[in-house]
């Protein structure tokens, strides 16, 4: 029982701060822990640890699908705790019947380590959605493959914890720790199909390359610390606002190295080479989570570090992002059309999408952030849907991902083929799907920022990448099936769609069509989800010369009077 307490204490940030406050040395003032802001992180992290503990105590008594249901509940809980934060950020004094407590407006918490703003809440909700969809897809998959157990769900929740930490990070060290929490769990997830050699290979590749990229990021953080004397984004921003170093090599090297680390996570060219292999080898539901949740967290990290922390340096990093975006869009589209494996083709298409999101980000404008968030939100559904179809079409063994395996898919599984067409058209940016609106927003942001050429490259790459999707559609609808038996008796080759995966696919399809026809609601929410850096107010207890050294000088930019919604 004591070990349980230890595990709980480890997973709950801030718990051990209690004893320190009661320690006899009176000079340390422990910062206020804003528990409500930490709740999404705590729910996900403690939910994972609790699942681990309970299942080891009660092994064998878990009902069918129990783990998946639990995971969905935990993720829903995390999203529910994030909802009041959204209200507070937008200075509503109540959400439904609940009174919301001040401070209103975006705020920093826990000694400036995390920042709660519309952006971080939006990404938190998005990661919650990715976890729910990932759990629904995996439920039947894991049973089918004979690797059912709590591990997948525990790691999924822990990885999401890291993603939320990244989305809220206001400090480069916290950002790095979130990145590692996210990544280490996903490395293991990629290799979790212990019976499949390709899965192990994918896990090892991802681990080695990911370890390198994390080292790059950390080295960059160290350089930035050397140049600015702080790892806190608020302090860095304030410092750079008063004193603008023009050609500080340390700072520029640091920015470059950080970009390498985060560029790897979002699979931007030229840091993309891992992604086709890993997406192909990893279990399909894991690939779905990697393409949705991990990508969202990576872009959250990029936005917080570059757009917020180094916004004044935009003229330095914009050209680099410009190049990354152009290369990602073109390489993803052109190399993607040569792929004969559907999962690899989807991986290249995901690289292409990363390019579009980078294009929105490089605009470095509110419109760009809105475009990025809209793109991330809609892409999550489209990519999870696509990989969800691949999960089912892969059949037992998760090995039937060749284009040839999809021949005649429309006759054997008309419903699945129809959904796949929808997700593929959505990804290609077909009008009346969410992908069209997303691509439009990204291109519009680039044009507004004066990046005409990049916008043109984006449109060209969209046209090229349509070929990737059309190839799959042609294979499903126009090619004859390989085996004559399947041709003669299409019902025999029909895949039984399990409830969880079916639910996830229908949700993805509804989102893809819904946000395509009525994008305004999501667009407005994405527009309100602006990232802000706010200083943490110096708590009254910490004032004076006790040297706790919390944060800055003034309390400006926090609206004190709540508006009524």
């Amino acid at each position: 029982m004591s070990s349980l307490a230890a595990v709980l204490a480890q997973a709950a940030p801030g718990l051990t701060a209690g004893p320190a406050a009661a320690a006899p040395t009176p000079t340390i003032t422990v910062p206020d822990i804003e528990w409500t802001a930490l709740l999404p992180i705590l729910v996900l992290g403690l939910g994972a640890v609790l699942l681990l503990t309970l299942t080891s105590l009660a092994r064998g008594t878990v009902t069918r699908s129990g783990y998946a249901i639990y995971t969905v509940l935990v993720a829903t809980g995390a999203m529910a705790t994030a909802a009041p934060l959204w209200g507070r950020v937008h200075a509503w004094d109540h959400l439904g019947k609940w009174e919301l407590s001040p401070p209103y407006g975006p705020f920093s918490a826990v000694a400036g380590a995390i920042g709660v703003d519309g952006f971080s809440v939006f990404i938190t909700l998005l990661i919650g959605v990715a976890v729910i969809l990932g759990a629904l897809l995996a439920d039947d998959y894991l049973r089918r493959e004979g690797i059912d157990g709590p591990e997948y769900y525990v790691l999924l929740l822990l990885s999401a914890t890291g993603g939320v930490i990244m989305a809220m990070a206001n400090d480069l060290i916290v950002l790095f720790l979130g990145l590692e929490t996210l990544s280490i769990a996903v490395y293991v997830l990629a290799a979790i199909h212990l019976k499949r050699v390709q899965s192990q290979e994918a896990g090892l590749k991802y681990f080695v390359l990911g370890g390198f990229s994390s080292a790059f990021f950390l080295y960059g953080v160290a350089m930035v610390y050397g140049a600015t004397g702080s790892t806190n984004l608020v302090q860095i921003k304030d410092l750079l606002a008063v004193k603008v170093p023009t050609h500080n090599a340390l700072l520029l090297i640091g920015l470059g190295l950080m970009l390498v680390g985060l560029g790897f996570k979002v699979a931007a060219v030229p840091f993309h080479s891992w992604s086709p292999d890993v997406y192909d080898g990893a279990p399909s539901p894991v690939a779905a989570f990697m393409a949705s949740g991990v990508k969202a967290a990576g872009f959250a990290g990029l936005t917080r570090a570059f757009l917020l922390g180094f916004g004044q340096f935009a003229s330095d990093w914009q050209p680099v992002l410009y190049f990354l975006a152009a290369a990602s869009m073109l390489v993803g589209a052109i190399v993607g059309i040569t792929q004969t494996n559907v999962k690899r083709a989807l991986a290249y298409s995901s690289i292409n999408h990363a390019g579009f999101m980078l294009m929105a980000l490089q605009a470095a404008s509110p419109k760009g952030v809105t475009g990025l968030l809209f793109y991330l939100a809609t892409y999550t559904f489209m990519t999870v849907g696509s990989f969800g179809i691949a999960t089912l079409a892969g059949r037992t063994g998760d090995g039937h991902h060749d284009l040839a395996d999809y021949r005649g898919f429309s006759r054997t599984n008309p419903a699945l083929a129809g959904l796949f067409v929808l997700f593929l058209l959505g990804q290609s940016g077909f009008p009346l799907t969410s992908g069209f609106v997303a691509k439009f927003g990204s291109i519009a942001a680039a044009v507004d920022a004066g990046s005409w050429h990049l916008a043109v490259i984006g449109m060209v790459s969209a046209a090229i990448s349509a070929f990737i999707y059309l190839r799959i559609i042609v294979a499903m609808y126009m090619a004859e099936s390989d085996t004559e038996a399947a041709e003669k008796a299409p019902k025999a080759a029909r895949i039984k769609v399990p409830f969880g995966a079916g639910l996830a696919l229908v949700a993805c399809a509804l989102a893809t069509i819904g946000f395509g026809i009525l994008p305004n609601g999501l667009n407005r929410v994405a527009g309100e989800a602006e990232p802000v850096l706010v200083k943490e107010p110096v708590p009254a207890a910490a004032s004076g010369a006790d040297g706790a050294g919390l944060t800055g000088l003034d309390l400006t930019t926090i609206p004190t009077t709540p508006t009524t919604r």
């Binding site: 400090d171 979130g178 769990a185 293991v188 500080n248 090599a249 050294g549």
Partner: protein
């Protein structure tokens, strides 16, 4: 002052002897142990520079963890006998190593001897931190200096429980995740699934085709 000199020279001697040992030992285990001596000597030098935390980390992480890991790998692979070090495992490794070492040495010497403007030598510009700490916007530097003096251990401890308390706790969670991941991966499956429908290589495919041809 005299004590400082004595400590410095003894440690420097240990470091250099250890480093030489790493390069010239014929037995890899001896080389690893020599590395321990070097790292330990550096740890003492850190103490001498009042970098107590760095010294502790040096001993715990480098000598305690990394070298032990190296020894583990050696013993698991059974390389505890003499190696033929006259044979280069990779062509040109030795030459490349010599070149890199020379460049590093020259770079280090350059910092020392071309020090007309030492602070800006490396980056071309002074770090922008100096005015920040003078402004005392980072009030921790002042406050900590008053209360804790030069003891960087106390400063670090203080920071861990104040400004970096969140990062500190997340690190703890991170270690939990690493353990969970290691346990998941360490389990052996009952049987490995055969690679489905995928020929080992093009050659196998070709050979299979040839054989079927021959069968006809």
């Amino acid at each position: 002052m005299a004590v400082n000199y004595v400590v410095f020279f003894i440690c420097a001697l240990i470091c250099l002897l250890g480093a030489t040992g790493v390069v010239f030992s014929r037995n890899p285990v001896h080389a690893a142990l020599s590395l321990v001596a070097t790292l330990f000597g550096i740890a003492v030098l850190f103490v001498q520079q009042s970098a107590h935390f760095l010294a502790a980390v040096q001993v715990i992480v480098y000598t305690g963890a990394i070298v032990v890991l190296i020894l583990f790998v050696m013993m698991l692979l059974g390389v505890d006998q003499e190696e033929d070090i006259d044979e280069e495992p990779l062509l040109g490794v030795r030459a490349a190593g010599t070149i890199v070492a020379t460049i590093l040495l020259l770079g280090l010497l350059a910092v020392f001897f071309l020090q007309s403007n030492r602070s800006t030598l490396v980056t071309g510009e002074r770090s922008v931190t100096a005015p920040l700490s003078v402004d005392a916007s980072l009030d921790s530097t002042k406050g900590v200096a008053e209360t804790a003096g030069p003891d960087n251990m106390a400063t670090l401890g203080r920071l861990l429980f104040t400004r970096y308390v969140f990062a500190f706790e997340v690190t703890a969670a991170l270690l939990t995740i690493a353990v969970v991941g290691a346990v998941v991966l360490a389990r052996r499956p009952d049987r490995l699934q055969p690679v489905p429908d995928e020929p080992e290589s093009m050659d196998d495919d070709f050979m299979a085709a040839l054989e079927s041809e021959a069968g006809h």
